[in-house]
Point group: C2
Chain length 187, copies 2
């Protein structure tokens, strides 16, 4: 288009297919455990930052997985949560996941940064499940989470999004610590 780009394409690393569950992830723990497994795979395969996320539908089945592919795909938007949202919306063919019924969940290995926080408000989820805390991310990897509204959980709850934290927090932190020890890139 006059020499400027007009298409952006982002993809999940091929290894992701190998860690996806075949049956529904019924409870919160199982959902965040998948997000943490994705974060662990991303560190092990060197395919991006130490973050994973997954969107589940009302039947608790996985609809889309996401990992951070910011550096390999040269895209600051491509955090794990954003990949999961975009892929899930494409799978169901609508921009707001819960437009035709509630029960949509995002599970993420670590507290969403300021970008993914805002995106969570528009994506159409009813529940946000979080593994590691922002302070864990900062302490273990030096990744910056950016500025959030003072009452960030309250702002979500007032918009109908339930927030549950510290789920599989130790497992999530173990992946972050590994990445930090390896001296993985911070950005």
């Amino acid at each position: 288009m006059n020499g400027l780009p007009d298409v952006v394409a982002l993809h999940l690393p091929a290894w992701v297919g190998g860690v996806l569950p075949k049956s529904p992830c019924i409870d919160d723990q199982a959902k965040v455990a998948l997000a943490v497994a994705l974060s662990e795979g991303n560190v092990r395969h060197g395919s991006g930052g130490p973050f994973g996320a997954a969107v589940f539908g009302p039947d608790h089945r996985l609809v889309a997985a996401g990992v951070n592919v910011v550096l390999p795909q040269a895209c600051s938007v491509a955090h794990a949560e954003m990949m999961a949202f975009m892929l899930a919306q494409q799978a169901v063919g609508r921009a707001r996941l819960n437009e035709s019924g509630s029960g949509w969940t995002l599970a993420t290995s670590a507290q969403p940064c300021c970008q993914c926080y805002g995106a969570s408000i528009w994506a159409g989820i009813d529940t946000l499940l979080i593994g590691a805390r922002a302070e864990d991310v900062m302490a273990l990897t030096e990744f910056d989470e950016g500025p959030l509204p003072a009452d960030w959980t309250g702002e979500l709850e007032r918009r109908g999004i339930a927030v549950r934290r510290d789920i599989a927090r130790e497992a999530a932190c173990a992946v972050l610590a590994d990445y930090g020890r390896q001296g993985g890139a911070r950005y």
Copy 2:
């Protein structure tokens, strides 16, 4: 990938090519005027919400344009600013635009929402130029801008991003008012 999507592709509408400038946009006014022209085109062509954005490099040349394609492309992430960031990063091949030198600008027809606000912090811009205010967007279109940190401009400035507002505000508001009068979708 086990029946789940693993690629997301987003594109600009074809008409965008027709409004792109052939020479650099030297001053703030010219940069935001392009963002407003993109927002106007998006309303006129019915290709998305009433928002446009553009990334300019240190030489004031356009690097990427963006318009809101949320509903037509079933993607809540696909706001004008996000499209412009992703396309610009793809064009230069790096996730942080100003990694190898400052002078990068995002011009947007309206104040970034909570998602695009956070994304602006990671994209690698040095200057953020804004047309319409959040209250204009709310009053004229009923679009929700979402929760921001109390001192949102200060948080940007402290991270090295200069913010200049109310540029071409009247022209930006005229597009928003048109969209509102037509009863365009709010989401």
